[in-house]
Symmetry: C2
Subunit: 194 residues, 2 copies
């Protein structure tokens, strides 16, 4: 029998990562997110900092620019190289154990390979703004721009590698507005479906 995986895609500031960790804790299974970056780092030979910098969620450098630059002689960009490694790690994790995987297009990567519950977490602008300011503090960049930039990058990354639109209900088994339902209710609802 295939392992049971929960994949969580999320808008920036929606609490998707927290919901993933909370759900994994309730279910007694691991949650992969930062851990995945470390594993990526080991396997790729890139440093962890470098990968973090290249990642789609980076506020400083765009993955999109990187996808079309920094190409090696065989035409594979660093970003494409990371995608390939990331994909094989996710497939390996899913074959090894039941777990929660946050982000990284895991829903798409595992679509034929695993028994997945595919979740998308989002929230209204005000709730997300409040959350990122309380978690990460204010920066020189206006909150609205920080949110818009990250969402734009995640959407573009998802679209580029999966060829389908980010945030469409039909790509997920469950989508939840964490701003209205609350982080804990979202987590308990997902655990209940496992």
């Amino acid at each position: 029998m295939k392992n049971r995986i929960i994949t969580i895609s999320r808008e920036f500031g929606s609490g998707g990562r927290t919901i993933g960790k909370m759900t994994a804790e309730t279910l007694g299974i691991p949650c992969y997110d930062q851990e995945l970056i470390e594993k990526l780092s080991e396997d790729s030979g890139f440093t962890e900092d470098y990968i973090r910098e290249q990642d789609e969620s980076s506020a400083h450098k765009g993955w999109f620019a990187n996808a079309f630059s920094g190409r090696s002689l065989n035409g594979v960009s660093n970003q494409d190289y990371l995608w390939i490694i990331q994909r094989s790690i996710i497939l390996e994790l899913a074959a090894r154990e039941s777990c929660v995987i946050v982000g990284r297009c895991a829903d798409y990567i595992l679509k034929d390979a695993a028994d997945c519950l595919k979740v998308f977490i989002h929230a209204g602008f005000d709730k997300r703004a409040q959350r990122i300011v309380s978690l990460y503090g204010e920066t020189d960049v206006p909150t609205q721009k920080r949110l818009a930039d990250k969402d734009k990058r995640r959407a573009a990354y998802y679209q580029f590698y999966t060829d389908t639109q980010w945030g469409l209900a039909r790509n997920y088994h469950v989508t939840l507005d964490s701003g209205v339902l609350g982080i804990e209710q979202c987590s308990s609802l997902i655990s209940g479906l496992y």
Copy 2:
């Protein structure tokens, strides 16, 4: 305090209407769908059959064509006239009592007027095809085309009157894949959030 309303948008064949009725029964509140058509009919002076024929879900005539034809002298099409009546009935229902409303862009109409839980139900093609054939039987039109036509009409209707894309996760508090989760689990999940 505002009444608590559940609005359910749904892909054709996803069982959204059944889920709405089941949820309303569990919660002991009314569910408006056919009933709404009747009420529409009474208030508008159109016959019930005529309204059913004009409705976005009609397989025989497109609302879209009607939206741009049959205009009266003041430029309001029959379809627009129905929209206006429908909108006022939904607002009236929401002000009167807690209830479930299936379809009719109720989520959009009530966005500022009521305490709403906004739900979208969808399912994969095979599950929906199976459901419509078992409920309505085979017709001369291939199942794939029946599904595609209805979805297209609903999406266009929603887009036209709400100016936002149909089926985007962020337009709803909860979206559920009834093909994977099952009709009963969807209903009990929604009831649990009420």
